[in-house]
């Protein structure tokens, strides 16, 4: 159904416009043709109503020839043809109305004088139909813009939502409570250490919150954040946890999704180092490989570690994010061997300004 019928106000507005057009047509034909005023009113008001309905067909013409996808040399003749055909049809229907008026009412030879007015009718009809086409094009563009705007808003809301969810899952409550417990222990024996830890923790949280609002950040920032996190965990695990980071110079400014490494590094601590009596070293590495960057996080783990411990959620999030952002251009490879675990992410080499 034509959208004009879906809203009452639109329909009333349309009918009002056509009544005005009918009035104008009466003035025009009374002046420019052999019709008298009464004849013009009797003939043109019904004809205008008929044409009001016929002009709605412009919608289908507009849909058939979308402005963005139709070449001008095809568009103009097609629209002209549609206008001429419609107005011709209208002229024929006008003749029928004139004949009816002549027979039923006492108009004298109206049907014959009508023929003299046909050229003018055709011209006016063509113009009116073209006008209808223009209005339809405008309305379609307007509707499309509104829909696009709404979609953009919806997407924004979705993205914000995902971000918050990601943030929540990226910082584990475990980490916070354990860090607070370390601080609690240090206050008695090493107040300066307690303070240093508090400051570090606050800074990590602050950076995480700021960075979480950005979609992409330079890899060196991402590395810095991961090292921040590990240095906090180092207070807890003492000599059991060590880490190294090797970032190739040319990869430093490559843009990566913010907090992408956080779940991976957390996993390395909680499912790797935490189960090792003697601890071990977590290695962060990033190197260029053609048009991509390979980021690798590896850690030793205990061959006796329980298999059932869930490492799933955080790592699944990483995979989802990569897929959403890069589609097939990114990869995540997990190697889970008895005594070591590693994750390699391959992302496109996208450099920030």
């Amino acid at each position: 159904m034509h959208p004009i019928f879906t809203k009452r106000e639109r329909f009333l507005l349309y009918i009002t416009a056509w009544l005005m057009i009918a009035g104008l047509l009466c003035v025009l034909f009374a002046a420019m043709s052999a019709l008298t005023w009464t004849e013009a009113v009797a003939l043109l008001f019904p004809m205008s109503l008929v044409y009001a309905l016929m002009s709605l067909a412009a919608l289908y013409v507009c849909r058939a020839f979308p402005l963005q996808h139709t070449l001008l040399y095809k568009l103009v003749p097609s629209l002209m043809l549609a206008a001429v055909l419609t107005s011709s049809l209208w002229a024929v229907m006008g003749k029928a109305i004139a004949v009816v008026l002549t027979r039923a009412l006492d108009f004298v030879e109206l049907d014959q004088r009508y023929d003299g007015a046909v050229p003018l009718l055709l011209a006016v009809g063509t113009l009116l139909f073209l006008l209808s086409i223009v209005v339809h094009y405008l309305l379609m563009t307007f509707d499309a813009a509104r829909a696009a705007e709404r979609r953009a808003l919806e997407l924004q809301v979705l993205a914000r939502d995902a971000e918050l969810k990601a943030l929540r899952s990226q910082i584990q409550p475990h980490f916070l409570f354990n860090s607070l417990n370390s601080i609690s222990a240090l206050t008695a024996t090493d107040p300066a250490g307690a303070r240093a830890m508090t400051v570090r923790l606050a800074e990590f949280l602050r950076t995480t919150l700021t960075v979480g609002q950005q979609q992409l950040i330079p890899l060196k920032e991402e590395f810095r954040l991961a090292e921040f996190y590990l240095s906090i965990e180092q207070v807890r695990f003492a000599s059991r946890l060590s880490f190294s980071a090797a970032l190739e110079k040319e990869c430093e400014n490559v843009l990566v999704p913010s907090l992408l490494l956080q779940p991976i590094v957390e996993n390395a601590v909680n499912h790797g180092i935490a189960y090792l009596v003697g601890g071990g070293t977590i290695r962060l590495e990033a190197r260029r490989n053609g048009h991509a960057v390979v980021i690798q996080v590896s850690n030793p783990c205990d061959s006796d570690r329980p298999r059932s411990t869930s490492t799933g959620v955080g790592l699944a999030n990483v995979r989802n994010r990569l897929e959403r952002l890069y589609g097939n251009d990114a990869r995540m490879v997990v190697e889970n061997r008895a005594k070591d675990f590693s994750i390699a992410l391959t992302v496109p080499m996208q450099i920030g300004s």
Partner: protein
């Protein structure tokens, strides 16, 4: 007041977390810390050798977690669990009215837990700890590793390495990677805990890891044996044979 001090063992894989328990225990002159442990193996050893009265037990640790430790020690010891954030554990503790400390905790809260541990009768304590251990074990089924205590030593046997298990009076003997381990358990309880798609009770006295099966042979009229890949022969009961056939 007796002049004999209560013996306590403090268990946590984080030095700072142990330090805080030590500090809080400073107020309790009648409790003496006889050992600090950083992993599950050490706890089993310490409890076996030192027979403490009280155990401050972390849940997440290397080698064995707090619940697995509970399964392996003679549990006539007051246990106060400590954990940072573990919804599952907290629920289990509440169900069995066992005291636990959520890190970080205050001295007051700690004192309360110590008092409660002191007051609870050993028999009541033991009962609720047993139930807790059972509950936790059930939630972690099927078993992916079998724990065996051999004096103060603990063996972890991944389920996949087990060839078969044989019933022997009050014990079961577990054959894995060429070795035999004895565990105080019934064959039925292990049958219920192991993955039923891999382990089959083929006889009153045997559970078989189906992956070790080489062939089935007739042994006498109405009686059969299975031959394992390493040549071991095990008898199969009629019910066991039906289960095997249904499985294969």
């Amino acid at each position: 007041m007796s002049s004999v001090k209560l013996k306590a063992v403090v268990v946590d894989d984080e030095p700072l977390a142990r330090q805080i328990v030590q500090e809080y225990l400073g107020r309790h002159q009648d409790i003496e810390v006889v050992a600090e442990c950083a992993n599950g193996f050490e706890v089993v050893k310490a409890v076996t050798e030192l027979e403490p009265d009280m155990l401050f037990l972390d849940i997440q640790m290397p080698k064995l977690n707090g619940f697995e430790v509970l399964e392996l020690i003679d549990r006539d010891v007051a246990v106060v669990f400590t954990t940072a954030h573990d919804e599952f554990a907290v629920k289990a503790f509440e169900v069995h009215a066992i005291d636990y400390l959520l890190k970080p905790f205050s001295q007051e809260r700690f004192d309360e837990a110590v008092e409660r541990a002191r007051r609870t009768r050993p028999s009541a304590r033991r009962k609720s700890l047993d139930e807790l251990a059972n509950d936790v074990r059930r939630s972690a089924l099927p078993l992916d590793r079998v724990l065996i205590r051999d004096g103060a030593k603990v063996h972890i046997i991944p389920a996949a390495t087990i060839d078969y298990i044989e019933a022997q009076d009050d014990y079961v003997s577990i054959k894995a990677e060429g070795r035999t381990y004895l565990k105080q358990a019934t064959l039925s309880s292990l049958e219920n805990q192991l993955d039923a798609s891999k382990f089959i009770r083929i006889h009153r006295s045997y559970i078989l890891n189906i992956e070790r099966l080489a062939k089935i042979e007739a042994y006498a009229k109405d009686s059969r044996v299975v031959i394992l890949k390493d040549g071991t022969r095990l008898r199969v009961s009629r019910a066991g044979y039906r289960k095997l056939i249904a499985f294969l």
